[in-house]
Symmetry: C2
Subunit: 418 residues, 2 copies
């Protein structure tokens, strides 16, 4: 079967299965999820063995260490995978909720019903845990999913797919509700992102390069997450303790996450007071500082920042620092150089806090809290399929609700329009 025909079949089957998933009740979906988790636990050895095959091939092909690391599935990883699927089972079902139902002068009652999106395509790197995770979230939200993981994880992904299908069958749900693409042909992605009739949304998970490429070629709406160039702005009324605690956590808790702060802005009035202890802390942790000329005059260890540094997601122990006039320049700088992901202000001034909240055009905007909180679990979503830096549909962490939309429902009793 050629790849175009194969993908058309996958899409067609997904659309068909999505109808059954949309009407599946919570019990069926939760039973399937629990059966999948049980099967994953039961077949832990098989999954680890399948992963070994992938790892051997990847090593032979000279895959780099960081990618091998993400590809690796340990027995502990398998247990976490099963637990994650069970956690999704325990979340409330978003589907079917009717809200805002009100009578209109015509006599009809108008409201909104939360419904699945339909068919969701997930494109991700060679990380087997994402396969179970994404399948579980799409299943619980009543969607059919088409999963296309990095080809290096093919054996393990196929093994997970078999267990997912076993769980779906236990609950009487169609196997095509979760389809894991069984070919490493790269053309599959090109078809997936252009099958408008049978794919309702694409969720890309992976590096900036991957997402930019998909974005340029996709004909299907995408819940994208490009990059996280997050800022912490220390306002002129910032509490010094909160400032240093938040900068430390936002920058140094983890260097490789998208909600890590990459840039520090400081109001001129307090820079000379606030920056030295923060610089000492950062320096002590081995964080390279790249600052504006004024910053250099306060922090001896800092190097000069280039224009590009302010737009950079370092994903490393590096931070850009800029001294600004105050909140106006801070907001302007963030909206210009930021990536609309997550930005925080440290301030004791209510008006400044509220202006920052309203005017910073980012998916998450925070007052006196670490940017590291931008996360589905921390926000109470239970789990996330990704973090959107798009502005329509869902912004920020996307949980089950972000995989649904609301349609209008009208209850009448024979009313007609005048």
């Amino acid at each position: 079967m050629d790849i175009a025909h194969y993908m058309q079949t996958v899409g067609h089957n997904a659309r068909h299965a999505s109808r059954a998933m949309a009407r599946a009740d919570s019990n069926a979906k939760n039973s399937a999820l629990r059966a999948i988790a049980a099967a994953i636990r039961r077949d832990a050895d098989g999954l680890v063995a399948a992963n070994q095959r992938d790892l051997n091939a990847a090593r032979a092909a000279g895959l780099e260490a960081a990618l091998l690391d993400r590809l690796t599935l340990t027995p502990k990883g398998v247990a976490a995978m099963a637990e994650g699927v069970e956690q999704v089972a325990s979340l409330p079902d978003p589907v079917g909720e009717i809200s805002d139902l009100k009578f209109r002068p015509s006599g009809i009652q108008v409201g909104r019903m939360r419904v699945p999106l339909g068919v969701i395509g997930i494109i991700y790197e060679a990380r087997p845990n994402v396969t179970a995770d994404a399948a579980a979230l799409c299943l619980k939200s009543g969607n059919a999913s088409i999963l296309r993981g990095g080809s290096e994880a093919l054996h393990c992904n196929q093994a997970i797919a078999a267990l997912v299908h076993e769980g779906l069958a236990c609950a009487g749900l169609p196997a095509d509700a979760v389809q894991v693409i069984g070919t490493t042909d790269r053309a599959a992605v090109g078809h997936l992102i252009t099958m408008r009739d049978n794919v309702d949304v694409i969720v890309p998970r992976g590096g900036k390069g991957l997402i930019a490429r998909l974005l340029a070629e996709s004909r299907v709406p995408m819940i994208q997450h490009l990059d996280g160039n997050c800022h912490v702005y220390l306002d002129d009324t910032a509490d010094p303790d909160k400032a240093s605690r938040i900068v430390e956590n936002a920058k140094t808790q983890r260097y490789g996450t998208c909600n890590t702060a990459e840039s520090l802005l400081v109001a001129r009035a307090v820079a000379a007071n606030l920056l030295p202890p923060i610089a000492a802390m950062l320096s002590g942790k081995g964080v390279e500082m790249r600052g504006c000329p004024e910053t250099l005059s306060i922090i001896a260890q800092a190097r000069p920042a280039s224009e590009e540094d302010y737009a950079m997601e370092f994903l490393a122990p590096v931070i850009s620092i800029k001294i600004v006039d105050g909140i106006n320049e801070a907001i302007e700088h963030i909206n210009r150089y930021g990536s609309h992901h997550t930005d925080a202000i440290v301030t004791e001034n209510h008006a400044a806090a509220m202006r920052f909240l309203r005017e910073v055009d980012s998916a998450s905007v925070m007052i006196n809290a670490s940017t590291r909180f931008a996360d589905g679990f921390e926000y109470g979503l239970g789990a996330e399929i990704g973090i959107s830096t798009d502005k329509i549909h869902a912004r920020g962490p996307v949980g089950l609700e972000g995989l649904t939309s609301q349609k209008w429902v009208v209850f009448g009793n024979g009313e007609v329009r005048a």
Copy 2:
């Protein structure tokens, strides 16, 4: 200035103005809207004269009658335009609303704030009333807008733009908050739909051909409205009076609107009873009926329906009719042939009503009410920028809320992530 450079400048200025619009308070936005309405009333003669220039040129160019009709702006049309803008002023401001604010175990409070989308591009045919209408909705929702109307309406659109700018200036809002493209160069559209950096969403208003073309070429998310192939399904427990009233209203109240019913499905058990009086009514109004073989055996006047007829948006006194087994086949037929716009069931059976509501995958799903109710005013949105048949972001009638999104806001007191 070449067109690429011109459009880049327009986009850049719109982005800049969108920052001021996002922080504008309700009073400023409402003052601007009222000033625009007053200016439109004051300059009614000038608008009609500008429209005359457009009409003369359009007639000379041999524009067809239906398009000339939509292009025409009468004194009464000007009054309605001013009234429409005032109505938007009187709607509640959706921007800034914070909802679902709750404490998390970490100590932070997490909620969502409703914010403008940013810059909205509207592409529409030569209908001057849309210019005022779209400008008002985007302004009230705190967005900057770039309006590209059909070139035949250029003079009138420019005259309206001048009055909009006068109103913005009165309220101290930036003129670039509403930009009406001042060139008839078709390349402007190509730039508008690909300027991802400076345009957040495109709302196309117009024929199916226009929208399909934009959809194929757009690199910016689109709130699209392709077509309205709406169904009325008469279930086997349908009340005959409601059935005939709803079919009459849904099909014959207006033939050219997107929420008009184009297809009638009837449960086999009641077809012989329900169809004859409905056929007599439709026939009396000159509606051509195209039916399945079973329909033909009941309705003598009907002609055979082709497969294409079931997928057709006739926008004319024509209806397709199909006799189905019952609700299963009805739902399947609608999801297959429909356009996900608006579909209604007529039934006295609760379970059937709820299944239809849940399983029909359309932006509006109705029980015992006419499809003609699918409309921003009827739903209580006050006004609509369009009706979306997309599944992400906003479905169905899109009012002020659909021109906004929700970002996450976090209130902390120095919390950091553990």
